[in-house]
């Protein structure tokens, strides 16, 4: 019997593949790696590319991933696929945007952000009107 290794390919959105395979090929940053069962523990990042899973000598399945992480334990291989292109400067830009968003929020005094406050005031006013109406009725 040939040796197999358990392979899991997952992304944040879904489970892509889970099962046994004889060999897995993945596009690591340092070049493509081929993983056989009982590979030494390895942790690496993946480039966008194709992950090929050889289930037996005749069947091979391939999945395209846009980067991610690869973890290898002697009997399991885990591919954590990204759902988006990642790059340092892209992440940086996204972080900057989030910061700006927060600053805009704090700077913006008259917008729908104050809606909650207005709503609270409205409820208070309505309660007052109701109380006044009740008083009027009693006087009548």
């Amino acid at each position: 019997m040939t040796m197999t290794v358990h392979v899991d390919i997952v992304s944040a959105k879904e489970k892509i593949f889970s099962g046994l395979a004889e060999m897995v090929f993945a596009p690591a940053v340092m070049g493509e790696v081929g993983i056989s069962p009982r590979h030494a523990p390895l942790l690496t990042t993946l480039k966008p590319g194709e992950v090929r899973v050889q289930i037996d000598p005749k069947t091979e399945e391939s999945y395209f991933i846009s980067g991610g992480m690869l973890e290898i334990q002697p009997h399991t291989v885990t591919v954590l696929a990204d759902t988006a292109l990642r790059a340092k400067d892209l992440d940086e830009a996204a972080a900057l945007k989030a910061k700006e968003q927060a600053e805009a929020l704090l700077a913006n005094k008259q917008s729908d952000i104050d809606y909650a406050k207005a709503q609270a005031e409205l409820i208070e006013a309505m309660a007052q009107i109701q109380a006044i109406e009740k008083l009027r009725k009693r006087i009548k």
């Binding site: 997952v10 954590l80 909650a116």
Partner: protein
């Protein structure tokens, strides 16, 4: 007593409100199912990455990543996940109360708190109470992408790296079932290692290209996935809370309509009786 016409107007306005609440209830019910599926789908990734982190904690790395070192806590980063829209019962209010209590506790211990608010209800609330918001993603839809969170999470991670915060905490509503949502607090950073006896023999990974780079991207993804999981769960909570709130609103509207109908009938009958007695009295006079 109010006249018949007045009551009729009120009845029709309550009926209109009931139509709206009933429609919202149904929309929320179908969205809740979708949100639950979304929650299930993102679970395998969270579990796998958790497992990898577990392995990592039990390995004996030559390089200790900053995220794994705990230091004296003086400043705290808090990620609050709330909904974008209201009309979902006490869901957000409970969460904010829970976070405020926690923040008061931290305040007592003289800890400084910086916030990352996800969801516009949270931004509005914490802005009003004057909290320090340092990061906020653009508004998320009902089907958020993990990409939308990358930026705002990175701000918090950078703050941790630069020593602006010493601990990162996540607050969100945990989905227990349709009726129950539990405000929950989880520590994201520093990572708490769970010791596992079977694995703790002496070994380490081979890192390609090097430990620092690999761990950087792995841990960033891990934190993002935890936050994403929180967001997805919060959406499921929001929809189910809205469904329940709208259901009780529709029921209340129904009760109100019944009462008004009764009052209307009484008023109508009184008017008829009065008219009759007037006619009879008129006839007798002639």
């Amino acid at each position: 007593m109010a006249s018949g016409k007045e009551i009729r107007g009120k009845i029709s306005s309550v009926k209109n409100t009931q139509k709206i609440t009933r429609a919202m209830e149904m929309v929320a019910a179908s969205k809740m199912r979708k949100a639950q599926v979304q929650m299930e789908e993102s679970r395998p990734y969270a579990e796998k990455i958790q497992k990898v982190i577990g392995h990592l904690a039990n390995a004996h790395p030559e390089y200790q990543h900053l995220y794994m070192q705990s230091r004296e806590v003086k400043r705290i980063g808090l990620v609050v996940v709330s909904s974008d829209r209201g009309l979902c019962g006490g869901l957000n209010t409970n969460l904010f109360k829970f976070s405020l209590n926690q923040m008061k506790q931290w305040d007592k211990d003289e800890l400084d708190v910086s916030l990352c608010t996800i969801g516009s209800k949270g931004s509005a609330f914490f802005k009003r109470v004057g909290a320090k918001i340092i990061s906020q993603p653009e508004s998320l839809s009902d089907t958020p992408n993990i990409e939308a969170l990358i930026g705002s999470v990175k701000v918090m991670l950078d703050a941790f790296t630069n020593g602006e915060i010493d601990q990162l905490v996540l607050v969100y509503n945990k989905f227990v079932n349709t009726m129950t949502q539990q405000p929950t607090l989880e520590q994201l950073l520093p990572l708490k290692a769970e010791e596992n006896e079977d694995l703790s023999h002496h070994w380490d990974y081979i890192y390609e290209p090097d430990a620092e780079d690999v761990l950087d991207s792995l841990l960033a993804r891990y934190i993002e996935s935890r936050v994403y999981q929180g967001v997805v769960e919060n959406i499921a909570c929001e929809q189910s809370a809205r469904m329940v709130a709208m259901k009780s609103a529709s029921d209340n509207a129904g009760d109100l309509i019944d009462e008004l109908q009764l009052a209307y009938n009484k008023a109508r009958q009184a008017a008829i009786t009065q008219e009759l007695s007037e006619i009879v009295a008129g006839a007798a006079a002639v």
